[in-house]
């Protein structure tokens, strides 16, 4: 099946449908499209799928109480949330409905939560309740003394976003979708029938184009339409706490929403127990200029750090760990949200560009909503163009159980099958050589250290690749034949060890 994954190509290629971008939007659309008998291509400018906006967010599957009634965000959030159990089951992706709590520190904040409760009712979010202090304790544990109530949303959940997106892409690839990585769209031209997409790797032609380009979706739209879009990248910084705290935080806990100076509001800071046992703390919200710049900012990290230092006492985890555990911070990251100036998702066929479909402005709750948007959008498109059902479509993606999740018996069996399960490469996350090789040889091959990290968690633990980094570099080299000096962290020229030692010459 390796033929489907082309890292490099030139010349002209024709497709029935082309998807630009392989974040949660592009992946959802690609997978939905693969239900039909079509020749489909996904164009991704990164060296791996899921290398943009979808990679860095809070990992929350929102219940839908927050999105304003009547908006696309509200509509697709609630439908998307309901799809998650089945979707994650089909794709073998861990998903936990741990419930979301938004806590209030004042009567004023309780009022705000009251508004949200009403909004939730209109949005038809199941089970949302405004709880007083005592009820909150029963549901979510012992909050700090200043907490006077909270909003309980039982359908809120957590998923690993890149795990999900990679799974959707792999499933799409297994069902015949072709992925073109390192392929950046430079221009799109409207032709007599369909579109010509000019990339750094040649020209792609298709009658149907899905614009899932994240923070760049406005540029794609603006190539073909006179109805211009504007996407503003909105940055959020996050901290990650050690897996040692696993199990100590049950629910996803938000502060009460805060108004933003420029209008609208942000969900505010959140504490998220991830499916992998770590805890995410975030995030601030700042509009930025650079659509690809996911560097963390001092101000952002400090804002998160300060918030949780000061408010740690409000969270139930503080009963067991009284102080914000600074030493448990293992990493920080930033993500961009593709915020549309219209403050809502922009979905559907572009008025003056037939066959060009937008899925733009997909910011929070985009991770939750994208599967629902894609399902509806592709279904409509399939009716319009009368797609033929792909009888071979298999919604299931089966992956071997991870070594860290196995019991001793399963481990013994796995080792009988494959000796490489006996070689632990990443000590912190208990990732074996077998799993690294599976990632390298998967249908969308992982050939960089970060691509392997995203698929296996190797290097994500407390030592941050201190021990496994060099091991992984040599495994990639052995398995793919790429020289060590050309192995990258994340594609292009992100070489990890660019030079050999002991080369004669000047010092």
């Amino acid at each position: 099946m390796d033929r489907n994954i082309l890292f490099f190509k030139t010349g002209v290629s024709m497709y029935d449908a082309i998807v630009i971008g392989s974040g949660v939007s592009g992946a959802s659309v690609a997978r939905e499209l693969s239900r039909y008998k079509l020749k489909i291509a996904v164009l991704e400018k990164g060296d791996d799928v899921c290398s943009g906006t979808s990679k860095g967010n809070s990992a929350v599957v929102h219940s839908g109480y927050d999105a304003r009634y009547g908006t696309n965000k509200a509509h697709y959030n609630v439908i998307g949330n309901a799809m998650y159990d089945n979707l994650c089951h089909e794709l073998s992706v861990p998903f936990v409905r741990n419930g979301t709590i938004t806590y209030a520190l004042s009567e004023e904040e309780v009022e705000k939560l009251q508004e949200l409760t009403e909004n939730a009712k209109k949005n038809k979010v199941p089970g949302v309740k405004l709880l007083n202090r005592k009820e909150l304790e029963e549901v979510g544990g012992d909050f700090g003394a200043e907490v006077c109530g909270g909003l309980w949303a039982p359908t809120g959940g957590v998923v690993c976003p890149y795990n999900l997106v990679i799974a959707m892409c792999e499933n799409a690839a297994e069902n015949g979708v072709e992925f073109f990585l390192n392929t950046e769209v430079n221009h799109i031209e409207k032709e007599a029938i369909g579109y010509s997409i000019k990339t750094n790797r040649g020209e792609f032609i298709s009658k149907i184009v899905f614009n899932c380009a994240g923070t760049h979706a406005d540029e794609m739209n603006n190539f073909v339409s006179s109805e211009k879009l504007k996407i503003i990248p909105r940055k959020g910084n996050y901290l990650i706490l050690d897996r040692k705290l696993s199990g100590k935080v049950k629910n996803t806990i938000f502060q009460a929403p805060k108004k933003l100076p420029g209008g609208g509001h942000t969900k505010g800071m959140v504490m998220v127990p991830t499916v992998d046992g770590t805890i995410i703390l975030g995030c601030d919200s700042t509009d930025v200029d650079d659509k690809d710049d996911v560097s963390t900012t001092r101000e952002g990290i400090e804002a998160v750090y300060q918030y949780f230092s000061e408010n740690w006492k409000n969270f139930p985890v503080s009963r067991e760990i009284p102080e914000f555990p600074k030493k448990m911070i293992i990493s920080s990251y930033a993500g961009l949200r593709a915020h549309s100036v219209t403050d809502d998702f922009i979905i559907g066929e572009v008025k003056d560009a037939e066959g060009f479909f937008n899925m733009a402005g997909i910011e929070s709750p985009g991770l939750t909503a994208a599967p629902a948007i894609a399902a509806e959008l592709v279904s409509e498109v399939s009716k319009k163009y009368i797609f033929e059902i792909n009888p071979a479509f298999n919604p299931l993606r089966k992956i071997p159980k991870q070594f860290r999740d196995m019991n001793d018996e399963e481990r013994i069996k796995a080792l009988e099958r494959d000796k490489n399960y006996g070689k632990i490469i990443c000590r912190c996350e208990e990732v074996t050589k077998a799993e690294i090789l599976q990632a390298i040889n998967s249908i969308i091959p992982a050939k960089s250290v970060n691509a392997i990290k995203m698929r296996t968690r190797a290097g994500m633990g407390r030592c941050q690749g201190g021990y496994c980094g060099p091991e992984i570099v040599s495994i990639i080299s052995e398995e793919t034949g790429i020289p060590i000096t050309e192995i990258t962290l994340s594609g292009e020229d992100s070489f990890i060890v660019p030079y050999e030692t002991c080369i004669p010459g000047e010092i």
Binding site: I329, Y333, R411, L415, K423, P470, Y499, T501
Partner: protein
């Protein structure tokens, strides 16, 4: 799972593990197994090609590789069982061990005593929360050292170093000798955490500037490091952003501290010290679980491998005594806890049992700042039990103070043995 019975199981085949094994062997224990995750014994010594090892232990100036070879030579002369390429997944309070290797699969052991000798790991960028992008070319000194000395690769040609710890200094010299440029070393403290002689022969010798009271406040570069921002820090170690300036480099190497590796100790429920990051131990280096001992860098981070050897020999001997039932188990414990006083941080051991173990105890601790002509003392309330004059004491160099149990005299239940450095 079939369980194999052993007398002593040692987790880690670096200097600590080997030294402990040899010591226990010397005290008559024969059924010893060492688990080592790498394919070779020696641990981090194998990537330490520089000299300066062994002066205390062997009275010779050796490289790390030579020091390791001496221990390995001694080990192979014994019938100590070596399991390389083997990772210990779990240990339990009952001293059961589950290990895994490609060769033997999942294996179980039941030990009479366990010695923890897992060494330490390096603090990473993540813990420091340095803002900026996440390009290739940001790595710790130990990783750079491994690439250079074990694999034969150079991580960059224009290196900026954060932290003046020993590995960073050693690597600075190696970079220069390999033909790379070391732009500068930034140290957040007003003094170096490294050994004085490394500052001289690794930085000063090559004209590499050390900027004290300075830290990295930003990393720049999309795919590969293109430079870093550095800033002065105030007396609270907070960056003064008005002093922020850009430094051109292709690599940021971190040498910002070591952390005892105690994942399996943590999982086993062994009590760890907040200060040292290692297990809480008594003067026999026994953890709070009977028969489980800890030594070397996983107990507390050492500056010198010689002291790791010496300490681990104590753990090895006591593990043997434990098995041979010679540690006066039946005697009623008479325990006094140690306590960091003025000028001192991370005293080991954490408790001393006057009725057990050896009569002489070595207290190990770090000064928490720089001292000149000072006195280290151990006292119970106002009563000085032991003291020693020191011409210099710096945080980069661990101090020792010997103390004899016969000198303790009477003390109350809540009394503590306070260790301090007085100028």
């Amino acid at each position: 799972m079939i369980m194999t019975d052993v007398d002593i199981a040692i987790v880690g085949g670096g200097c600590a593990g080997m030294s402990a094994a040899l010591s226990a062997y010397g005290h008559g224990i024969r059924n010893i197994v060492i688990f080592e995750r790498n394919s070779y014994l020696g641990g981090v010594l194998k990537q330490c090609i520089h000299n300066g090892f062994g002066i205390h232990k062997f009275r010779e100036d050796l490289t790390g590789t030579q020091y390791a070879a001496k221990l390995i030579d001694d080990i192979v002369k014994t019938d100590i069982c070596i399991k390389t390429d083997t990772i210990v997944l779990n240990i339990t309070e009952e001293k059961e061990i589950v290990a895994v290797s490609s060769k033997e699969g999942i294996t179980g052991y039941r030990a009479k005593s366990i010695i923890l000798a897992m060494g330490c790991r390096e603090r990473s960028r993540g813990e420091l929360m340095i803002p900026g992008s996440r390009p290739a070319g940001v790595l710790t000194a130990g990783v750079a050292q491994r690439y250079m000395n074990i694999e034969g690769y150079l991580v960059g040609k224009k290196v900026f170093i954060l932290g003046s710890g020993d590995i960073g200094l050693i690597m600075a010299r190696q970079f220069v000798l390999e033909g790379a440029e070391v732009v500068a070393i930034a140290e957040v403290m007003p003094y170096s955490g490294g050994l004085a002689r490394n500052i001289v022969q690794c930085a000063e010798d090559f004209g590499i500037p050390i900027y004290y009271n300075t830290t990295v406040t930003g990393i720049v570069g999309k795919k590969r490091v293109e430079g870093v921002f550095i800033s002065d820090v105030d007396e609270n170690r907070k960056p003064v952003l008005s002093t922020e300036r850009f430094v051109d480099c292709d690599t940021l190497m971190l040498s910002v501290g070591l952390i005892p590796e105690n994942e399996i100790a943590f999982k086993a429920g062994i009590k760890l010290s907040e200060k040292t990051g290692g297990p809480i131990v008594d003067d026999m280096l026994q953890t709070d679980i009977d028969g489980i001992f800890s030594c070397g860098n996983c107990l507390h981070v050492h500056d010198l491998v010689d002291f790791v050897s010496i300490e681990s020999e104590v753990a090895g001997k006591n593990s043997a005594m434990y098995i041979l039932d010679k540690i006066k188990k039946d005697k009623k414990p008479l325990v006094i806890e140690t306590n960091d006083g003025e000028g001192v941080s991370g005293t080991v051991p954490h408790r001393i049992d006057l009725n057990k173990g050896e009569e002489e105890v070595t207290l190990m601790f770090r000064p928490n700042s720089k001292f000149r002509s000072c006195t280290a003392t151990a006292r119970i309330n106002d009563r000085i039990i032991s003291s020693k004059k020191m011409p210099v004491a710096v945080p980069g160099e661990m101090c020792e103070l010997k103390i004899n149990k016969n000198d303790f005299g009477p003390f109350e239940k809540n009394d503590k043995l306070t260790v301090e450095i007085i100028p």
